[in-house]
């Protein structure tokens, strides 16, 4: 029974959410917030893999989000809709519902390949030098996108809403909630399983002492390569979901401020704690929305709040522990690998 508790809980949660959206109990605004929560969870857990578990300091996560967002948007717009840029749809729009996850995964793969831009220099550099490489990579990616005029350059790229409409022609269900939820759970499972695999032990070893790990025959280069690629690939999927939720992407919205947001979520949750990242992503998204009426004061209040949290709890909400470490009794009720 213990094995099925988490899957059952997740299915119940998903059906409730979709039912609420389907019967229009929650309006589009609340739906968007829920979607952002899911997307932010993917972003923060994937960054946590590099920053928390591996102990590197990557501050260019938004670059990979941008790659995923652009690749998957371009593909889905070109394949399933009629657009001014790409002309008639290459595939019948009825296939959109089935093709969409594939498109997202291709976006993730593209982002994982861009992750090489950071992973390869990381063989020889570490710490703050690596931090710089990630910042530079973020600048390079944004700047490259701005210079490709075919996909809108600095003006941005749109048309993804029509893909959603095409999907809704197949079946009138809230598709985005379904896909965000599925990919969120998938990415958490991937990260969790990765961290409990042999590679995961290597990642922990690299965080504690890279040189010692290498002496103990951990193939650090290989582990760094795989970890960076998984992290950036998941970020790319988050980007694809983000682009399709908003329906419009602009290179400026993936600058270092976006990376900062991801960093804040990771460190607010606690380094190396998956449940911490999830809680922080939810709290942070809610905080952004609840404080919206304050307008510009919001952008002073949130950093101030975070500084105060850091002063009183300098290890983040969860530290490096998981939920089941804090409440050991929970272990009786669920098993999550």
């Amino acid at each position: 029974m213990k094995r099925f508790n988490v899957p059952i809980l997740l299915v119940v949660l998903l059906t409730t959410l979709m039912g609420l959206a389907w019967f229009e109990v929650i309006d589009l605004y609340i739906q968007t917030i829920v979607l952002f929560m899911g997307i932010n969870i993917i972003t923060s857990t994937s960054l946590n893999l590099v920053n928390g578990n591996m102990g590197e300091f990557s501050c260019g996560h938004a670059g990979f989000i941008a790659v995923g967002a652009y690749v998957s948007s371009i593909l889905s717009v070109a394949l399933f809709t009629k657009s001014r840029t790409f002309g008639a749809p290459l595939l019948p729009p009825e296939l959109a519902a089935y093709g969409f996850p594939l498109v997202l995964i291709i976006g993730g793969l593209a982002a994982a390949l861009t992750g090489l831009l950071v992973a390869l220099p990381s063989f020889r550099t570490r710490d703050d030098y690596l931090a710089i490489i990630t910042i530079a990579a973020n600048y390079i990616i944004i700047s490259a996108i701005i210079n490709i005029d075919k996909i809108g350059g600095a003006r941005g790229f749109m048309g993804m809403k029509r893909v959603i409409f095409a999907m809704e022609k197949c079946a009138e269900i809230p598709w985005m909630i379904l896909w965000v939820f599925i990919f969120m759970v998938l990415s958490i499972i991937i990260i969790r399983r990765y961290m409990s695999s042999t590679y995961g032990k290597g990642v922990e070893a690299i965080r504690q002492d890279e040189v010692a790990a290498e002496i103990m025959s951990v193939n650090t280069n290989r582990i760094k390569l795989v970890t960076f690629m998984i992290s950036s690939g998941l970020a790319g999927i988050a980007g694809g979901l983000y682009a399709h939720t908003i329906g419009y992407v602009n290179p400026k919205s993936f600058d270092l401020l976006k990376s900062t947001e991801a960093l804040v979520m990771v460190y607010l949750g606690g380094m190396g704690s998956i449940s911490g990242s999830i809680i922080a992503a939810v709290v942070f998204t809610l905080m952004l929305e609840l404080l919206r009426p304050l307008q510009i004061i919001k952008w002073v209040a949130i950093p101030l709040l975070l500084i105060i949290i850091m002063q009183f709890r300098p290890e983040g909400i969860m530290g490096n522990r998981e939920l089941s470490d804090i409440f050991p009794r929970l272990k009786k009720f669920y098993k999550f690998k």
């Binding site: 220099p121 990579a137 701005i146 210079n147 975070l306 500084i307």
Partner: protein
């Protein structure tokens, strides 16, 4: 052709001077505390605004009679701004960084706090002063010197000379004075230094004073050269200066100085020969290449670690 190159080189030196001055501040704090002070770019912005208010006050825009000539106003504004900006920097250290350091928090949490402090400075400014941009007053008349077909303004010469001069002063402080020796000692071994009777907090405050006054100086010079102020002006130039500091080899002020000029020269030369939107792409690709070939930066020395 040669003239254009020379003209561009002069522009690049001016642009690189800003990066160098800001990178010097970054590297000072980093060298002593191993802390990436991400709020530094915004301290530059604060410096520019402080200079704006002081000079407007002295030029008689807030009802005070203007009794000083322009050059005297500038001569007063520079030291006053440097002092006030370093007050801001030290306050930041006292309020945000020191408590965390005392608690022994992970280094990266201090970095996040610095990022948040930068956001507060930016948006607090936006909140207090509104979104309208400020026009920095002109204090000295522009003089253009002409050598052949190369034009040089007095401002350009001033900016480049100031950057070189402040580098020399800093280099002297670090290598020749007692405080400089203490700074190097803390960077070498943070735990043994207090045992030797060196007041570590005083030295750290001094470091912040030096770094922030460099930021204030950079703020004034930037505002004099590009006299439009807005709250977000420090952000992007701050990040870029940090990258310059790292390419030079962070923690070494020669590295910061050289790195700033390298980044300035690359950026201006790219703009001179390619469309300007390629600036970031090419500049950062070159920097990435430099770091891949020489991972510790130009002046950095690989550290040996004990296991």
């Amino acid at each position: 052709m040669f003239d254009t190159l020379l003209q561009n080189l002069l522009n690049a030196l001016q642009w690189g001077s800003f990066y160098s001055l800001i990178a010097l501040g970054y590297t000072l704090v980093y060298g002593v505390l191993r802390l990436i002070n991400f709020a530094h770019g915004d301290i530059v912005m604060v410096g520019a605004y402080i200079a704006f208010f002081i000079s407007s006050l002295l030029l008689g825009q807030y009802g005070m009679p203007a009794f000083l000539p322009g050059w005297a106003v500038l001569a007063l504004t520079i030291p006053l701004t440097m002092v006030l900006t370093s007050v801001v920097g030290v306050t930041l250290e006292r309020v945000a960084y020191r408590p965390l350091r005392r608690k022994g928090a992970n280094r990266l949490y201090v970095v996040i706090t610095a990022l948040m402090a930068g956001l507060i400075l930016e948006n607090g400014n936006l909140l207090l002063l509104g979104a309208s941009r400020k026009k920095f007053p002109e204090m000295i008349d522009k003089v253009v010197y002409k050598f052949g077909s190369v034009y040089v303004t007095n401002l350009k010469i001033g900016v480049i000379l100031t950057a070189i001069l402040s580098f020399i002063v800093l280099h002297f402080i670090i290598t020749k004075t007692k405080v400089g020796m203490a700074m190097r000692a803390i960077s070498y071994d943070k735990f043994a230094v207090p045992l030797m009777g060196i007041p570590i907090d005083t030295v750290i405050v001094f470091t912040f004073v030096l770094g922030s006054s460099m930021a204030g100086l950079a703020g004034i010079l930037f505002a004099l050269s590009y006299p439009i102020l807005d709250p977000y002006m420090g952000m992007s130039i701050g990040w870029k200066a940090f990258i310059a500091a790292v390419v030079g080899g962070i923690g070494d002020i020669r590295g910061a100085f050289a790195g700033g000029f390298i980044l300035g020269i690359i950026e201006i030369m790219v703009v001179a020969f390619f469309p300007s939107s390629y600036r970031d792409l090419i500049a950062f690709s070159i920097l990435l290449l430099i770091l891949t070939v020489k991972p510790t930066g130009l002046f950095g020395v690989a550290q040996t670690t004990k296991i």
